[in-house]
């Protein structure tokens, strides 16, 4: 299929069957809002992950310290013990599970504070589930260890991180430095959905909302360089979520 389709899925672009590489994850959600928590737990289950829920900071800390989770999702403002202090306590105990912080405080300095406290990613409320899911999968995968490889391969597309050479089949593709970094990030997370905000944050290091969707234009430029003229497009748009690079032939 040319464009990643999801018309029959319940959440846009998120069925377990669609993202073939999805490995079930064990997640812990520390969130005091019962409604939001129920919604998330249910949504995670629908896409094939197992999510447990803690309603306050103390309970969350106990569960997180004992259980073996792939990713922790921590709300910043929690009863009994606030999110940042939970993370601090966990890191002190040597628990290195990746943490994503959810917060109503979305300004740049709040984010910096969250990351400094030991969080690995920061998502301001309100968020879309697809954004949350994409970020969690990237966090979980990071543990797996991709990123150390010197050459990324997706189908017949190859990216050499040392020599900065990109080839598809036998042809060399010339990319601008930014296009190279964009492709590098996409390929590092091949098979995973990457949202526009994630690209803006990780490729450009910008943390604001650029009103117009400038990222789409950059993607379509990149696409015209790596996919144009090939029967098997690799860079796919996941409607309502973002982009994903993967070998569609598999």
């Amino acid at each position: 299929m040319a464009i990643y389709a999801h018309d029959n899925s319940q959440l846009p672009g998120l069925t377990a069957e669609a993202t073939t590489g999805r490995v079930p994850m064990r997640l812990l959600l520390i969130e005091d809002d019962r409604d939001a928590a129920d919604y998330l737990v249910k949504a995670f289950r629908e896409v094939g992950h197992v999510a447990e829920h803690a309603a306050d900071g103390e309970e969350g800390l106990t569960l997180a310290a004992d259980g073996d989770y792939d990713v922790l999702i921590v709300d910043r403002m929690l009863p009994k013990r606030d999110g940042l202090s939970v993370i601090g306590a966990l890191r002190e105990q040597g628990v290195e599970t990746p943490v994503l912080i959810l917060s109503a405080l979305g300004q740049v300095d709040d984010r910096v504070k969250g990351l400094r406290a030991g969080g690995d990613d920061y998502l301001p409320k309100p968020y879309s589930f697809s954004e949350l899911l994409a970020r969690i999968e990237v966090l979980a995968r990071r543990r797996g260890g991709r990123g150390e490889e010197m050459v990324y391969r997706v189908g017949d597309l190859e990216l050499d991180r040392l020599s900065h050479r990109v080839t598809r089949g036998k042809e060399e593709i010339l990319l601008q430095p930014r296009e190279f970094r964009l492709l590098e990030y996409l390929m590092k997370h091949a098979g995973q959905v990457v949202t526009r905000t994630m690209l803006l944050e990780n490729v450009w290091d910008y943390h604001f909302d650029p009103q117009t969707n400038v990222i789409d234009v950059h993607i379509s430029r990149l696409r015209s360089k790596i996919d144009k003229g090939y029967t098997q497009p690799l860079l796919q748009t996941v409607r309502g979520a973002g982009y994903m690079i993967r070998d569609g032939a598999r």
Partner: protein
């Protein structure tokens, strides 16, 4: 009485009193010193005269004996305004002189003494006058007394004392009157300020403290307070405007959202229709979230920031980064975007906010810069151009975004930075209407400003920021 009490309690009046006391003490010391010296001078003069006479008379005695001395003294005694003379025998019997009475015991002690006396030609028994006399033992048992009346010296002392009293009285009086006058003047101004402050507290934020124009410390205080009031009024005005605008610009899409949901409930027949309505709902709520975020950001920027979010960065690098981000979008719209920032322009500020402000300007230029392109530039066949510049100029860093779009009419330039203001001509373009307000807020936060100029044709938006970053306190 209370008005007077208030007067006496003022700082100015207390200061006046303190100065008055210091001045009076100083004047008294000065006068005392002067009196002491004058007295010494007069006394010296008297002793010199007396010594000279005694030397002369004892010389006469040595040459002509007691007879000659008596003759000379009798002659001298008769002269008007003469000194005081007395010659006695060893027993104290008067031989010659013009004194009829002296304080007892004066004659027994040779040397200087002050004594009351009475002249021979005066009636009565009292020793009414004071004199400074010297008693001299002549060889042969005679005693010679020569003295001068002290009237002159006493008169001088009286004059000085009375001058002292009068001047003290005058100084105190003038000082008090001056103190009251100055204090009342200051008090009136302070009262006027207090009164204005009360009306302002009462809710009339347009009130301003009176400035006398004398450029003194009270004026400076009033000017600073007025500047503060200006800022407060602007903030309050902004706050009111925000709530009005929130009411309008957030409620409108919220109503739309609700209407769509209701309509779907009522009319949707199949799953596809529900799905369409839900997708529309998500889209609209995303728009709401975006507006809300922009509002929060502006509020934060306007409230000021902690100095820890300030850092040094290169303005040229920011311009290149933003240019690079938007270049493909511009190209897609048929515009060329060029960045002219070749020399590094280091500055201090909030990097994230400055980047976003510049991005907003470029975003606007791309949105509106293409609109008039077909008419303005299309004629000469050149692609409509957007130029982004970042350069240092004096102590400022200027970010300029120039487009060849329809521009902003001169009359609207002040208004476009207001929140939610979208010129009629741009109502059809998507956007929250907050872009330029954010830019203006970021500029203000850094102690700079956002201005617009004619690019003929088109618009030139300029963010001017001080190189050194926001000034924490105004001098």
């Amino acid at each position: 009485m209370t008005a007077l009490g208030k007067l006496f309690r003022t700082t100015t009046f207390k200061l006046t009193l303190a100065y008055l006391v210091v001045f009076v003490v100083f004047a008294a010391l000065l006068l005392g010193y002067f009196a002491l010296n004058t007295r010494r001078l007069v006394t010296e003069q008297i002793t010199d005269t007396v010594n000279a006479e005694i030397t002369g008379l004892s010389e006469q005695y040595r040459q002509g004996g007691i007879r000659r001395l008596v003759l000379i003294i009798e002659a001298r005694s008769r002269r008007p305004g003469s000194s005081l003379y007395l010659v006695t025998t060893f027993n104290g019997d008067t031989l010659a002189g013009n004194i009829s009475a002296l304080d007892p015991g004066v004659l027994d002690n040779p040397g200087w003494s002050e004594t009351g006396y009475r002249r021979l030609d005066e009636a009565g028994a009292d020793r009414g006058h004071e004199a400074l006399v010297r008693v001299f033992q002549l060889p042969g048992g005679f005693r010679l007394l020569v003295g001068r009346d002290l009237e002159e010296r006493q008169r001088l002392e009286r004059i000085i004392a009375s001058a002292g009293r009068w001047s003290a009285a005058v100084v105190v009086l003038i000082g008090l009157i001056g103190g009251v006058f100055v204090t009342r003047r200051v008090l009136r101004r302070v009262d006027a300020m207090t009164e204005t402050a009360r009306t302002i507290m009462g809710g009339d934020l347009s009130g301003r403290l009176p400035v006398a124009g004398s450029n003194d410390e009270l004026d400076r205080l009033a000017e600073n307070l007025n500047a503060m009031l200006e800022r407060i009024e602007a903030l309050m005005h902004g706050l009111k405007e925000v709530s009005d605008n929130i009411a309008h610009d957030l409620k409108t899409p919220l109503t739309r959202l609700r209407n769509h949901a209701e309509e779907a409930l009522r009319t949707a027949k199949d799953e596809a229709a529900y799905r369409g309505a839900l997708e529309q709902t998500i889209e609209e709520s995303d728009g709401l979230i975006r507006t809300f975020n922009a509002l929060l950001m502006i509020a934060r920027a306007e409230a000021g920031q902690s100095s820890e979010s300030l850092a040094e960065f290169d303005a040229a690098e920011i311009a290149h980064g933003v240019g690079e981000l938007y270049e493909p979008l511009a190209e897609e719209k048929g515009l060329t975007l060029t960045v002219e920032a070749d020399t590094p322009a280091p500055m201090v500020g909030n990097r994230e906010l400055v980047t976003q402000a510049l991005a907003n300007l470029v975003d606007n230029a791309i949105k509106y810069g293409g609109a008039a392109a077909s008419t303005a530039d299309g004629v000469n066949g050149a692609a409509p151009e957007i130029v982004v510049r970042a350069a240092g100029e004096g102590d400022k860093i200027l970010f300029t975004v120039a487009d060849h779009g329809p521009g902003i009419p001169e009359s609207d330039r002040g208004r476009v930075t207001d929140r939610f203001v979208r010129l009629e001509s741009s109502r059809t373009e998507p956007g929250s209407g907050l872009g330029l307000s954010l830019v203006a807020a970021v500029a203000r936060l850094h102690g700079g400003e956002l201005t617009f100029a004619d690019n003929s044709p088109g618009l030139k938006s300029i963010i001017a920021l001080p190189r050194g970053g926001p000034v924490q306190t105004t001098a």
